[in-house]
Amino acid sequence: MALLKRRPVRVPGLLASFLHVDAAADAIRAVRALGIRDLTVYTPAPNHEIEEALGQRVSPVRLFTLIGGLSGCAAGFGMTIWMSYDWPVLVGGKPIASIPPYVVIAFELTILLGALSTVAAVALFSVLMGKPGAAYDPRFSDDQIGIFVPAPSDQAGRVEQLLRSAGAVEVRHEA
């Protein structure tokens, strides 16, 4: 719901399109050198040059994968052992709670919860760490790289010049 509420807000700034990946990386470095950090960069596919120019750290989703996996493992052993003792039935002369067969259940639940929490983390971080209000253009999912620079009107001229000299094919003012 937070997502829906935040969407209509438009942030003033500049939306530049690039055809060349090195030009876009130059522009990112130049804008970041100005002290503007909250850029939004759109690419049709993940790109290492862009990531390096942005100086991004590794995503924290891996922590959620770990937590999800460990909880799944604990849930798997916890459930099977508790349920075995809740209604104890002797099967095949084995102990009531027999660990080797329960490894299979714990393993499957490790994978299940690990995977689901990974995807949940992506959804969560995309909303929490996303920069709402940035302008978008459909060409950014096709073959162009887009850079949205949130800039107040007094800085806009300077930023536009930077983007153009880096090689932007188009720069749009978004109010």
């Binding site: 939004t40 759109y42 075995s84 259940i105 971080f125």
Partner: protein, 452 residues
């Protein structure tokens, strides 16, 4: 992800493909359906209706219609269950394991194989439910709090199967949908009208921002890393349904790796059966090329050779064990009343795959298609032979009996192909069947300062 190899670089002309060409060509596959597509869809739905009708009769009258004959109470339904579960494995191998191995050729084919996985597992999941007889109480398999305070027996391999299959279905569906996100967004930005509205909804706000890619790429890596041990575990668990029992021909330690190799082999057979007509129908021959078929065929050769080894080893172990029951079972597989099934399995799987040593055959699309049909038939028979021939003559000759498959068996089998085919066809026409985003990732973007 320093991928340097171009996915379609092996045939020169494709190097000229740009990002916008990829989007255009893949979005073009989603256009209005052709007559051929509608005929196929009609065929699939008709088969499904046969299956539904058969199922309704089974619900009304019970499993007596199926060809069960003591002591054979696992037959065509369980065979087909293992068959479809196996099909799924090649998809996960290609989408997850080859992703971790950084195999560049997987990109063009992995979406269709992953879709195949999801639908094959969806199909397989129906069979244990059909097989249990009182289908409406299938939920008794799950551990849920009930008025009798009973819990399932977690020491039973059949319950491991419940967990393995449901996890596999959930995780492979998640993996498929997650991988589709950026591609659905790319389609959204190309289409208009009500289709745009639908794809906007299904792309859940994907815009390819640096923040989204940052989490997405990492998450994809971990999903692949989780799916890899999962796929190996699922067919191992399926094999333990058999191996943990004491039936001759089933009680072997070789079963888990033998089943996993067979699963991947059968799955690649189905991949070939599906994508050879698909790439022609969708005019994406320049995206899925000889290079991909050559690699798929090599994988078939590898797993087919593992099967050849496993078959030989089964016979060797039966002889070497000195156990008369084991020896009789394997003798009867080759020379007993089901000799035709036993030889179908050995010829279609172990021998036909050996043709792929020749590159000429590996890049001959017609030959590959024919071989893939043999693989599908052979792998269905493999499970049929393992299940039915072992059960029909276990220990005391007095208690032996033969299976008599009926219309109820074949009706459900036909229905399963219809169900699978329907989902696959609907998917192929509504979602990008070639991963737009991943192919773009492998094609270097243009540079201002020379280079590409």
């Amino acid at each position: 992800m320093a991928v340097v190899t171009h996915p379609v670089a092996h045939d020169g002309h494709s190097m000229t493909q740009s990002h916008s060409d990829i989007t255009r060509d893949v979005v073009a596959t989603l256009g209005p359906p052709t007559r051929g597509y509608l005929v196929l869809l009609f065929g699939a739905v008709s088969l499904l209706l046969v299956g539904i009708l058969t199922f309704l009769i089974l619900v009304k009258d019970g499993l007596g219609h199926a060809g069960y004959n003591p002591p054979v109470f696992w037959s065509v339904y369980i065979t087909t269950f293992v068959f479809w579960i196996g099909i799924g494995h090649a998809g996960t191998l290609i989408s997850a394991i080859l992703f971790l191995f950084r195999s560049p050729w997987r990109t063009a084919v992995y979406r269709s194989t992953e879709a195949m996985t999801v639908f094959a597992v969806m199909t397989a999941g129906l069979f244990p439910i059909i097989h249990i007889g009182r289908q409406w109480i299938f939920y008794w398999l799950l551990p849920y709090p009930n008025q009798r305070f009973l819990w399932p027996n977690f020491k039973s391999p059949l319950l491991w199967d419940v967990f393995a299959i449901s996890t596999y279905l959930t995780v492979s569906t998640t993996f498929l949908v997650f991988g589709l996100l950026p591609d659905v967004a790319a389609v959204r930005d190309k289409v208009s009208g009500w289709r745009k509205a639908v794809y906007s909804l299904t792309s859940v706000g994907w815009r390819g921002t640096n923040n989204q890619w940052r989490h997405y790429s990492r998450a994809y890596l971990y999903l692949a890393a989780l799916a890899t041990p999962l796929v190996l575990s699922v067919h191992s668990v399926v094999s333990w349904d058999f191996a943990v029992s004491l039936v001759p021909g089933w009680h072997g330690t070789i079963f888990a790796p033998y089943f996993v190799a067979g699963a991947i082999y059968s799955g690649i057979g189905m991949v070939l059966t599906l994508i050879i007509p698909l790439r022609r129908a969708f005019r994406i021959e320049h995206l899925i090329t000889d290079y991909h078929f050559d690699n798929l065929a090599k994988l078939t050769l590898l797993t087919g050779s593992i099967l050849l080894y496993a078959y030989a080893m089964e016979y060797f172990v039966a002889w070497y064990s000195g156990n008369i029951f084991e020896q009789t079972t394997f003798y009867r597989r080759a020379f007993g009343p089901m000799w035709w099934a036993g030889w179908t399995m050995i010829i279609c799987n172990a021998f036909v795959s050996q043709l792929l040593w020749f590159r000429k055959i590996r890049v001959n699309i017609t030959a590959l298609f024919v071989i893939s049909i043999f693989i599908n038939i052979g792998m269905w028979f493999e499970r049929f032979v393992i299940i039915v021939s072992s059960l029909s003559n276990d220990y005391i000759p007095w208690a032996w009996g033969q299976l008599n498959p009926t219309w109820a068996d074949w009706g459900i089998l036909a229905g399963s192909f219809g169900w699978f085919g329907m989902w696959f066809l609907l998917f192929a026409k509504n979602f990008p069947i070639v991963a737009i985003q991943e192919i773009k990732e492998m094609i270097p973007m243009p540079r201002k300062r020379g280079g590409h």
